[in-house]
Symmetry: C2
Subunit: 768 residues, 2 copies
Amino acid sequence: MNYNNFFEIKDGWNLQIKELKEDQLVHYGSNLLCGNGYLGYRGTLEEWGKEQYQACVITDTYDMADGKWRELSNSPNALTTKVTVNGKDFGDYPKEDRITTELDFNYKYGIFKRISQSKLESDFEIVSERFASYDNLHLIANKYQINNLDKKEMKLKIGINGDIWDLNGCHLENFTGEYDSNKNIVYLKANTVESKITLVTALSFEFKKGKIKNLKVENEEKSIYLLIKAEAESEKIEMERNMIVYSSNDLNGPLKAALNDAESALKIGYDELKEKHQAVWDKKWELMDIQIKGNLLDQLAVRFNLYHNIIATPAHSERLPIGARGLSCQAYQGSAFWDQEIFNLPMFLFTETETAKNILKYRYHTLDGARQKAEDLGYAGAFYAWISGKSGKELCPSFFFKDVISGRKIRNHFNDWQIHVSPDISYAIWKYYLATEDIDFIVNYGSEILFEVARFLNSRVHYNQFKDQYEIIRLLGPDEYHENVDNNAFTNYQTQFALKKALYFYFKMENEYPEKLEEIKDKINLNESEITAWQEISEKIYLPQPDQSNLIEQFDGYFELEDTTAKVLNDRLIDKAEYWGWPNGVAVFTQVIKQADVIQLFTLHDIFSEEVLTANYDYYEPRTQHGSSLSPSQYAVVAARLGRAEEAYDYFKKSAFIDLMSTNKAVSGGTFIGGIHTAAAGGIWQLIINGFAGMKIDKAGLSFKPVLCQEWEEIQFKLNYQNKKFEIRLNQNEFQLKTAADNSEALKFSVFEKEYFLDAAAEVKIKL
Amino acid sequence: MNYNNFFEIKDGWNLQIKELKEDQLVHYGSNLLCGNGYLGYRGTLEEWGKEQYQACVITDTYDMADGKWRELSNSPNALTTKVTVNGKDFGDYPKEDRITTELDFNYKYGIFKRISQSKLESDFEIVSERFASYDNLHLIANKYQINNLDKKEMKLKIGINGDIWDLNGCHLENFTGEYDSNKNIVYLKANTVESKITLVTALSFEFKKGKIKNLKVENEEKSIYLLIKAEAESEKIEMERNMIVYSSNDLNGPLKAALNDAESALKIGYDELKEKHQAVWDKKWELMDIQIKGNLLDQLAVRFNLYHNIIATPAHSERLPIGARGLSCQAYQGSAFWDQEIFNLPMFLFTETETAKNILKYRYHTLDGARQKAEDLGYAGAFYAWISGKSGKELCPSFFFKDVISGRKIRNHFNDWQIHVSPDISYAIWKYYLATEDIDFIVNYGSEILFEVARFLNSRVHYNQFKDQYEIIRLLGPDEYHENVDNNAFTNYQTQFALKKALYFYFKMENEYPEKLEEIKDKINLNESEITAWQEISEKIYLPQPDQSNLIEQFDGYFELEDTTAKVLNDRLIDKAEYWGWPNGVAVFTQVIKQADVIQLFTLHDIFSEEVLTANYDYYEPRTQHGSSLSPSQYAVVAARLGRAEEAYDYFKKSAFIDLMSTNKAVSGGTFIGGIHTAAAGGIWQLIINGFAGMKIDKAGLSFKPVLCQEWEEIQFKLNYQNKKFEIRLNQNEFQLKTAADNSEALKFSVFEKEYFLDAAAEVKIKL
Ligand SMILES: [Ca+2]
Ligand SMILES: [Ca+2]
């Protein structure tokens, strides 16, 4: 991978793109995203508009404009700018070639900077810097400078552009705007077409250098612009401006709040806003950073992924999902998949546990949507949506892929057969409990989820009287190419696990929180016979066992399918754009799988022998296409567990650079499929902590089985386990664990199965 | 329907085709088939060969020549003939236009006759007549005449042509032949390529008029010919000849048997052979004929269908299936589907009960194949093959249809999800018992089938703990466009029925045949807990009930599918040759069904109210494409039951003329899909007896609910019920039942729910 084709780096936090490439536009927008969990402003130039995929995605603004896809809305763009020098406009990319631009991005603070040089008309320079504030989530602050202006006068068009990019229909209508010349504040108000959310975008600005000679207000149907004749000061113009976004889902009176924030931000000024913002990030990185010594590119890549996992997460709310593409674009509907609990969450479990709790509380608040889905499909309890927005109702349509050969729609069954999302959530709750011992959460939120999931599973399994076992029929496992399968090993094990944990907390609450249990039982009408059923199912559910070759069959009959490789199947494609899976794609009748499936089971459950892990890794690895960005990190974790650090490193490369060095098409057949793969971002944390450091938690406690790849000299990171903080350093020769000075009790853990107890401010070094 | 385009009739037994039409060649071959359940000789001219679909299909000669399809073999053609007059060959159809030919067929005795007139060279005439003997199943007798020979001398090429038509690969190899000039007998011996069956075809001939002046023997690789110069006698040549076929599956020494039969047939002579043959038919028609007054065409059509159902059936054997295309061609592998029990069998149940028993014994002898299939798919007991040949092993491949747009194979699940064939067989056994009271058959054969089917069903159903009911998941019901459905009403009701009948005979045998029961229990290892399970399942199986609109849902979720019509779907086809069904055909996501499904349930089980029948008939009828030839007769039976005699008549027209006036392509894309629809043939009997006469038998006994369509003046037929024979006459005003003189006890029955008892030689007339 020659990353110089894409970017340059000078340290482990910053990258530069020295020359823009047209075919990478879409990726810049996502990779250089300024975000804070509330909004995501894409890495675009101020001159750009919808043709260049400019967007600012706002959380909690679900709307359906095309009658089919419900997605988040984009805000009008309050940073839109057009510079005119000597009567000529600049920046009409990519047609414009009189300007060269460099982009800088700082992943420590999410700061986007552009530096553009005029090539022909004048040697002026545009320097602009912005960030999405973590101090005020509604704020994007921008400092915009024009330097070397040999002509004293030039024109600037600024304002709020409401003619924005949308994936599936225009979400905003009824635009009204105003310019307050006293305060230099502009706003644009609109509402979403279906959900009737009011969205307010405000702009406040001030010239710190240079003067406004003349200002005209121009209203367009969806936009409000200020046409400014400005005079340079010492050949410079310097403008500070603030984009503020509020929706009526945030509070009553979003307009007032927006105007208020716009005004106060102007008073505080860019530099102080930046300081406040950076202070929040400094606190985050204190626990969340992972330092890699020995490879600057890898260091940057790790932080790129951590950064994106953080800004994708609506940590400020307990009622919002982590989108599969975060807030980097509208793709995947800004909605949660199983990725949220299995890929995004783990990092927060051991760092920002409040955020981890919010993520899980989101599943509590969406229980009604999950209950509705279960009922609609003839089941009981909570069947969580495959694609879950704010309400938790199923957003995944029955038809989305097309048979590109016939042009006919394909009925895929992600929405009704891929049931593992429900037990995956139970699994995550259990892990949260192990990591935090937060029994209050369990008692007040988690238990109801666990019970309703168990109830769903009870209604979904089938008892096979002939074999005296419970089975799960007609599934989609993690490997999505094979639909309609029975007894998918991953799903069956997860189901048993979810039932057992529901039972565990049921009996725990019966002893320790009997009143609370009664309250929940009353609320959801839970009766004793259901508990008996959960017990029986968890005892008698069919769990595919390793065969004489130590192999676990992914689902009933998998081993009888044609044994071939993704490479061979690729040659069988009639059209390269064909979908490989159900019902008649090239992979369906073969053993080629889209992604980790049995291997995914291993990363979640360390209950199999090394022989079993080895046999299955060696079997499934060559049969895996890695057609999903979820796959490589999971293979890496298992590779590391097997001591195959170099293979794990290879998978690190595959996973960490999915977006950073994306050469995939982000726009295919006119459909936008780009954006940040947030699950892959979260997977990088797992790959290092669960993979190289070999960390896991289970009933036996916290343990490590470290191994490091040759490419890295040392890794270093901090964790928070059950309110005890500690730092780990791992190199080729040594594993070092140091507890924090303010820990209130000793940390118990094991390394290579040897137990340790460390008081506060203590350390242990273990030779490898 | 202008049948004159196809044929002319002079009475209710005979049809004539006055002028051959090239596009009907394939249909002539099937419709004018001479057959006897052992062989089927297609209705082709003696001059014709494989290009004109000449074939003689021989039962019990399964062989696989293409590595994929196992089918019956065709015999070499011992009636091949070429006539040369004035040095010019005749009969090279369709290029030959110097000859006009008329075909006559007599359905009373299965006699094929051709009369050809020379148009140009001479006014000679060829008259040839043949039949497949029911007196000796191995014999096809032929009388071949050339008249008006103004030239005294001409040439004849006769012999045995082994270069024959095959659907899927050449089945015969290692040809050897001989001509015995003393006896005028020729034979050709070969063996099948895979199954190594020896097949012997012999020819004996004699000139009754005219003389052989010169004879040369010509051997080709696969054929043996005699080149004869013959001299006419009174301007005539008349040859009698006999084609004899034996295989090594019939007996040891097929050659000796063939030569022996060839010799003796010659001695007996054509006319006496024909008398013996006709005597057998006369006996059959005595009970099997149905007379229709008032419409000669319909009368002929009924007999056409009865004839074909009879000759398709290997009544001589208890080890052979009824092919879905009988012995009219190799299509459908000469194998049994559920058609055998549900469509072909009913006629024999009330006429030739020995044949009915043989049909069911075939299922006994193929139990091992069914057990093997169940085991292969992870079930217990007997899962009967969807396509069942001699062994009962599954002959239905996993892939047979093609996606004509992409060219990719389609995985259809006829072989693993269409389970109803097993309970359908149990159903047929019950009906046989009701019709015959043959408890010996049950004790010695039927019970083992019933138990093994019940055992299979036990292993196939799933208990839904949540709903406390048994369900059947992932089915193909009779409507084959919808695969992967749950709780197909037809299948679930049939399953309960099959379990109940297994239990009925289990307890009956426990009381009345305890030793025999113990013997079977030992043999198949049946234990008491299985009986308990059958009881529980039969009590708790989910049976879709009529909803508030009296509608029974065909399967779970059917009513939520797009509600449209076959006509609309036809317009959605990209390619007219597209398959409409699974997985992505135009009908899959709609309520358009291929054939009777809920309606099929009604024809088998008269357990629903008239309101329910009416509602469902009116609902499903416009949604049915009748893409299967099984469908119209079943709609007709229900229409008649509802008193809608004219609608029943419309369905009679659709069903009775499927082959007789076929304008369907019998060859599509080079693939032969023609042949006689034997299930439709059997369906005609049901349509008249169960439909118009409204006959049914159940635990309450024999009953009638007659209604006649306006188009017919009267219908008349005989039945045999529990060894009591009787005749029925039905017209618009009267239903008359007359018992046979030799009945040994009184016949009990009801008409319109009023009961009657009739001694022998008695009659009752009921005004309508
Ligand atoms: Ca530069
Ligand atoms: Ca004539």
